[in-house]
């Protein structure tokens, strides 16, 4: 037994199939060898990777944060596997960081201090659909869009639709309380998660929330959704099913001036219309996505709005006319309605590929996710363009205009010396300006590590201490995804769980 295990561990730490090449494989240190052996024994060799390549990739997500440092990477297949991993990690005094698809934009999945990384991609099944109660239980590794596709034959869907929904997982959505274009009318993730099965830091399994409308007691489910992996690992999620609307109308409005587009947004809301979604893209963004999506976005407009109204057919027709009318009164140069599902799909494909399309302009990007009062959109946009010009940078604006959730994308080339500093400086100014306008630090991408040090700009020391205490009540030893969200002065004994080691950087 021991020998088999040793052999399995060797395999996991780095394959030695081709004898003479083994010299190139970096040795993981001895402590890790014991940890890895225990993980292998607990969940099997095919579910653990500890080689340099696997750890390097598990150290990063879609953000520009590259200082993560993963320990062994586990691919649990069940709640029992997760429990086993948490137990083994605790026994070795190591933290645990969960990971979905790694599409996060704030470094929330970037592991700090060489924790055991739990990649949830293999827990990707739809467990149960209860149409009578409008609930489905899903595993956290299930891809957001796969869930809605699986539900389609039943005439229902899962409403929150982040732009990355084709790749991102439900577990990651829960961790970040993710939004998406259609959250304007339907609400963000927390409004669609009824209950969560969680493996706690002491390896116990609890269910937070329940399927009734008004569960008694404190809303622990509410505290968990959006906690960025710091309160435990979700292993099953009960999501609310939303009926597909009987009619949908998607309109593309284009403008010669960004402020006319922003004024249109305010006017639509002020008129009492609640569209399913109002998205805005400026000219640079439209150009970048149109190359890929071929959706017929006008490249010559200064800004476009993508507005969708849904509901009963009669109401949709009326709302659609009113939106078009408001747009015209605000100097829209064109208003086009998607003729069929195919055209609608292409328009949305364009919008949802915006971040990924940035490399058509520049190879790197850094973005913020601040929320500002909708009434100040015009002013805020003007300030953003001014800040970016002053730092000699390029910005692509794409955002959830309906709820004032900005995503100014600073596109740059990190190979040009000094650019990174200018990007950071401009980013900081954009955040400060947004907060001064009465805004919030993040709408939907989470704080992660990227926005951690801005937290005290938004919350008082008392607020932050309370947040830290709430977190400690879930995870007293700070073993779950440590080092995230709370600025270092307030992150309890996080540092104790972090191994004193530099960022992984490159191996060798």
């Amino acid at each position: 037994m021991a020998r088999t295990l040793a052999a399995a561990t060797r395999r996991v730490l780095g394959s030695r199939r081709r004898g003479d090449r083994s010299a190139a494989v970096p040795a993981t240190d001895d402590t890790d060898a014991a940890l890895v052996a225990d993980l292998v024994e607990a969940i099997g060799a095919d579910r653990v990777r500890a080689d340099a390549a696997a750890r390097y990739l598990a150290s990063r997500d879609a953000s520009i944060y590259k200082e993560g440092n993963a320990g062994p990477v586990c691919y649990p297949g069940s709640t029992a596997d997760v429990v086993a991993c948490v137990e083994v990690a605790a026994r070795h005094g190591r933290a645990v960081s969960p990971r979905g698809a790694g599409t996060g934009l704030a470094g929330g999945a970037a592991p700090l201090g060489q924790p055991v990384v739990l990649s949830m991609t293999r827990m990707d099944r739809l467990l149960e659909i209860d149409l009578d109660n409008g609930v489905a239980w899903v595993q956290p590794g299930m891809v957001n869009l796969d869930l809605s596709r699986a539900l389609a034959p039943h005439g229902v869907h899962y409403a929150p639709d982040p732009s990355s929904q084709a790749a991102c997982t439900i577990g990651g959505n829960v961790a970040n309380n993710s939004g998406g274009p259609h959250c304007l009318a339907y609400g963000v993730t927390s409004a669609h998660v009824l209950a969560v099965e969680v493996v706690m830091s002491d390896a116990s399994v609890v269910t937070l929330g329940d399927l009734t409308a008004e569960p008694p007691g404190y809303d622990l489910r509410g505290a968990f959704v959006g906690s960025e992996g710091m309160c435990g690992i979700a292993t099953a999620v009960a999501v609310r099913l939303t009926r597909n609307p009987p009619a949908v109308r998607t309109m593309l409005l284009s403008f010669d001036d960004v402020s006319d587009a922003a004024a249109t947004v305010s006017a639509i809301i002020a008129a009492g219309i609640v569209p399913a979604a109002i998205e805005m893209m400026d000219q640079r963004c439209v150009t970048a996505v149109e190359d890929f999506a071929q959706a017929g976005y006008p490249r010559d407009a200064a800004a476009v709005l993508l507005v969708e109204v849904d509901g009963p057919a009669g109401g949709v027709a009326i709302a659609g006319e009113r939106v078009a009318d408001i747009a015209r009164r605000n100097q829209a140069i064109s208003a086009r309605t998607a003729a069929d599902d195919d055209e609608r799909a292409r328009l949305w494909k364009g919008r949802k590929s915006a971040f990924g399309a940035v490399a058509n302009v520049m190879p790197d990007y850094y973005l913020h996710d601040t929320v500002v009062p909708r009434t100040r959109l015009v002013e805020v946009l003007e300030r953003i363009y001014e800040i970016v010009d002053r730092h000699d940078l390029i910005v692509l604006n794409v955002f959830h205009a309906g709820d004032g959730n900005l995503h100014p994308i600073l596109a740059y080339d990190s190979r040009v010396p000094g650019t990174g500093e200018r990007v950071q400086a401009a980013g900081r100014e954009i955040i400060e300006m947004s907060l001064d306008m009465g805004g919030a630090l993040t709408g939907e991408h989470g704080i992660g590590v990227e926005k951690r040090e801005y937290m005290d700009r938004m919350f008082s020391a008392v607020d932050l201490d309370q947040q830290s205490r709430l977190r400690a009540s879930f995870d007293p030893h700070c073993r779950m995804n440590p080092g995230k969200v709370l600025p270092s002065a307030h992150s309890c004994s996080d540092i104790g769980a972090l191994r004193a080691s530099d960022a992984a950087g490159v191996w060798g």
Binding site: A24, R49, A53, Y56, D124, V289, D413, V506
Partner: protein, 390 residues
């Protein structure tokens, strides 16, 4: 180790992850090491940050099917195929991938007579049950005799290639009959263009592929006739000569290459007007070969061409995810290849089709080995045409 990759191509990935659901290996393993985004990050680590080339990194590159499904999914149009081909060329050059036996086997594809004779011997051995076909992923039955290739005119070349000509010449003949029914005179390339080099470039044998490309171009020079290809993998490879060799001559050559469906789709009226057609009464699922859909981006021509000839043509609901054949991939990575294929066979089952139409010999062999009834799309058209003539 410098992988010789173009820096602008290498930095073009912003790691958004939209490629993940379109990668057949990531979908199976759920591991970043088996994803396009992960593979690019590892290439960068090696080329830009000096990371050593470990066995696990090599596995990450070797497990890629090179289907290029990630390319059509990428909003930033990262040329993943070039990056992977470049990486493999560097690894093969350093002797880290593509073992000697594989190089020898690939070399044989250039020698047409040897390949034809060897295939006949193999067919005989299979008949005598001397070869475990299933384990090796070989067809359960191969032709002992091949009807000769014949020239019927000089309007177009029909590229016949290597393994396909040796193992599936019936398909070439059916394709030729369909073209002739449209009034087109066909000259099969035969010995004039022995092998396109697709499998060689996949294995990282860049210099060899370039030599083979020059040989093919020489064999088909002298006029500017269209070169029609009925194997999606070969078509993609021939269309890439312009990039591979980087010369005006090669670019001009590549511009002459068409997938046969792509070419026929514009001439359907011609075909239909000559022969009144009774569509075949069957349900056919169209399997999009990756090198037709993601590389040539001409897959929509297949249902367009099949439409008038088959009563019920259905699409699969898997977003064109790879079937796992990948040229020699099914032989080199049998475990992953089989797992990937299971998703495809499930999609076929969901479609309700009894027959699968595949425009690539590799996919066709791979899917047939799973027990599916697979035909080349133009074999079906040929069948419909000959039934109508009767």
């Amino acid at each position: 180790m410098h992988l010789g990759l173009d820096d602008d191509e290498l930095v073009a990935c912003v790691a958004c992850g939209l490629c993940l659901p379109h990668c057949p290996t990531f979908v199976i393993t759920g591991r970043d090491t088996e994803s396009p985004r992960g593979r690019i990050a590892l290439m960068r680590a090696v080329q830009n940050e000096g990371a050593p080339v470990t066995d696990d990194l090599i596995r990450s590159m070797e497990t890629c099917v090179q289907c290029r499904g990630c390319e059509t999914a990428c909003p930033s149009a990262v040329p993943f195929g070039h990056l992977m081909e470049g990486t493999r060329a560097a690894l093969a050059g350093a002797g880290r991938i593509t073992p000697r036996w594989q190089r020898l086997a690939l070399r044989m594809l250039r020698h047409r007579q040897l390949l034809l004779a060897g295939s006949t011997l193999l067919a005989l051995a299979i008949r005598l049950r001397l070869v475990p076909t299933r384990r090796l992923g070989l067809p359960a039955r191969m032709p002992l005799r091949r009807p000769p290739l014949r020239t019927s005119g000089g309007d177009v070349w029909l590229f016949t290639g290597c393994v396909m000509d040796a193992w599936q010449r019936d398909v070439h003949l059916a394709v030729q009959r369909v073209l002739e029914a449209a009034g087109v005179g066909v000259e099969p390339t035969g010995g004039a263009a022995p092998c396109c080099g697709a499998l060689h470039i996949h294995a990282g044998l860049e210099a060899e592929t370039k030599a083979m490309a020059r040989r093919v171009m020489d064999g088909l020079s002298g006029d500017d006739r269209p070169i029609l290809v009925d194997a999606a993998g070969c078509g993609a490879s021939l269309k890439d000569y312009g990039h591979l060799l980087g010369t005006d001559e090669a670019r001009a050559f590549s511009a002459r290459v068409f997938d046969v469906h792509e070419w026929l789709a514009g001439r359907l009226d011609e075909l239909k007007s000559r022969t009144p057609v009774e569509p075949l009464d069957m349900t056919v699922a169209v399997q999009d070969p990756c090198h037709l859909r993601h590389v040539q981006r001409a897959h929509q021509a297949v249902p367009a061409v099949l439409g008038p000839f088959v009563a019920n043509v259905v699409a699969l609901d898997d977003d064109g995810l790879c079937c796992g054949a990948g040229g020699a991939y099914s032989v080199m990575e049998p475990e992953l290849s089989t797992a990937i294929r299971e998703r495809k066979t499930a999609a076929v089952a969901r479609s309700g089709a009894t027959v699968v139409a595949s425009a690539n010999p590799g996919c066709s062999l791979h899917l047939a080995a799973a027990g599916l009834d697979v035909r080349h799309p133009l074999e079906l058209v040929d069948q419909a045409l000959s039934a109508s003539r009767r």
